[in-house]
């Protein structure tokens, strides 16, 4: 079966489906529930979409395939939005792909522009998600063939390229960032080898036998680290008074950033190489490179917020392509969706668009509905979230502390989580004093095991 055959009438089919799309209220309601539930869960750090999806799975199985999967997909990017909220307002990245959002989002919130930042993030997410969705619906078969082209060596190259891009553009200079990258790779070493499954560098300690936990790393490095660094500053400043003024909002360049981010995320999402994280970090680095005001980055550059948020959502949408067309899930949430699809009798594969066109096209329209609902909710709730952020710092930071500790306990399912979280908080202080940025460290940590797997696969091919 030729994977690359682009159905010439797919475009006309899509148009016909659009015209005939049933505006059934129950479908809209289900997607709304999904998005809302996802958002509620995404705001709790340490809980990701998997927990929310597991909660609603029993409901899903009683539904038809299309509404059920749309519910789950709604949860998925509702949770992404929730992650962006905590990133921007509290500097706590719930997942690795929310990290790039806080580079510019947090300074904007501290400068008193929390509501605008959230609104901008929502708009960028909407742009990224919707455009990627449309692209997917029309171009997916041809694109998934392109994704097949990326074998182990190709994927390793993409990841190495992303690391290099981040190394050259993160603050601190290339040499310091290289050190951070290797430190990140080193942190990913203890635990189980991803290819052989043997334990390495655990020194027999129960705290290390699971390796360093990603949630603990994120919450510690960014959540606690941010708190500690803020507390260490000699003058306590109020959120509005003495914070450095945010750069002015240049609407056109922010919009262009969102479009660039969309393209970047879309392409990255098709190749299984840590899509969301890679795309958002790469987008931030790219925007900084292309910007005419690179000194704004780190102080709240709007382009640096729009790009990663758009690329994040675009990558999430695009990662549905390997799932539906190749049956290849690119992250744990896609894995859960694949399980659900199999149960419902939908067989992912290149012939899915032809065999089940109602499902295939209907699914994308549900994603677009979800995007629109997310936009409405995001813009509507931005004011509410922003008001929370205006509370005095002395009231907020213990709450953030407890959320980080709880989140890392939940994420690591054990005491190792909070212990590591605290350790990484102290590490963040140390790194800041040394003039190093934690961004390359996090990217290297996430990509390390994958890079290692693909390197070994390449070596096995040619040994």
């Amino acid at each position: 079966m030729d994977v690359s055959a682009v159905d010439p009438s797919l475009a006309s089919q899509a148009w016909a489906a659009l015209c005939a799309f049933p505006l059934s209220p129950s479908l809209w309601l289900l997607v709304f529930i999904g998005v809302f539930a996802g958002m509620a869960v995404g705001v709790l750090p340490g809980f990701g979409p998997p927990a929310a999806m597991a909660l609603l799975f029993p409901l899903v199985y009683t539904l038809d395939p299309l509404p059920g999967i749309s519910l789950l997909a709604g949860i998925f990017y509702g949770a992404k939005y929730g992650g962006a909220v905590t990133s921007i307002l509290m500097g706590i990245p719930g997942e690795a792909d929310a990290v790039a959002t806080l580079f510019e989002g947090r300074p904007l919130a501290l400068a008193g522009k929390a509501k605008q930042a959230l609104a901008a993030a929502t708009l960028a997410s909407f742009t990224g998600g919707t455009l990627a969705c449309l692209g997917m619906a029309l171009l997916a078969p041809a694109l998934s063939r392109a994704a097949l082209f990326f074998g182990p060596s190709g994927r390793a190259a993409v990841m190495a390229g992303a690391l290099a891009l981040v190394a050259f553009t993160s603050p601190g200079g290339a040499r310091r960032n290289l050190c951070m990258i290797f430190l990140g790779l080193a942190l990913a070493l203890p635990g189980m080898d991803p290819v052989y499954g043997t334990a390495r560098l655990t020194f027999g300690s129960p705290l290390l036998s699971g390796g360093v936990e990603l949630t603990a790393l994120l919450l510690g490095l960014f959540g606690l680290g941010d708190l500690l660094n803020a507390l260490l500053q000699p003058e306590r400043r109020g959120p509005e008074q003495e914070a450095p003024a945010a750069p002015p909002l240049r609407r056109l360049s922010a919009a262009m950033a969102a479009l660039r981010g969309t393209l970047l995320g879309f392409l990255t999402g098709l190749v299984p190489c840590g899509a969301g994280v890679t795309a958002s970090f790469a987008s931030h680095a790219l925007e900084k490179r292309l910007s005419r005001h690179p000194e704004d980055f780190g102080r709240g550059a709007w382009e640096g917020l729009a790009g990663p948020e758009a690329s994040n959502n675009a990558a999430a949408m695009a990662s549905f392509a390997p799932l539906l067309l190749l049956g290849l899930p690119t992250n744990p949430i896609m894995a859960a969706l694949l399980g659900a699809l199999t149960v419902m009798g939908v067989v992912p594969g290149p012939s899915l668009p032809q065999e089940q066109p109602d499902f295939y096209q209907g699914f994308f329209f549900c994603l677009i509905i979800g995007n629109m609902l997310l936009l409405a909710m995001g813009l509507g709730l931005a004011g509410f979230w922003a008001r929370l952020a205006r509370l005095p710092f002395r009231l907020l930071w213990p709450v953030i502390l407890l959320l980080c500790l709880t989140g890392s306990y939940v994420g690591a399912d054990g005491l190792a989580g909070p212990v590591q979280c605290l350790a990484f908080g102290l590490l963040a202080v140390f790194l800041k004093r040394q003039g190093c940025s934690p961004a390359p460290l996090v990217l290297a940590f996430v990509l390390g095991p994958r890079l290692e797997t693909h390197l070994l696969q390449t070596l096995f091919s040619y040994w």
Binding site: A51, L401, L415, W463
Partner: protein
Amino acid sequence: MTPLHPIFHRHALRAVLALAGACALLFSPPALSDGMPGPGLWARLTGAGLLLCAVLFPGPGQKPAHAPAAVRPCLGLVFSSLLWIMLLLPAGWMAATLLSGFCAMKSAGCSLKESLLIPALLCLVLEAGMVHLLQWPMPEGFLWTMLSGA
């Protein structure tokens, strides 16, 4: 926080990198197993890279901060975290959250009313969301079970 002695400040990260690299090289499994790349290959590559980085690191690039930093809230944060960690399993997460929240808010300079109210509120919200809605098992504390069961 008293500034680190200048020499420590300059070489601290270098020492960390070198130590990490040495550990990776010394304690990881063999690089080749049965003649094929083994579990230790990547670890040793990373270790070698770390040692190289330790040499290449350009130093912190700025003088250590001389202004006196606000240490008390910082220590309060660390102490509250440690308290939470130590209390979690024996006393259960609710007690741990309440107590360490109280300590943290006191060290942040909040009033008594705020220090009691806000941790309690947080506890309620998290309890409702995590334990009842998401059915996530949080530790109940073995001291309670011992006291009530024994």
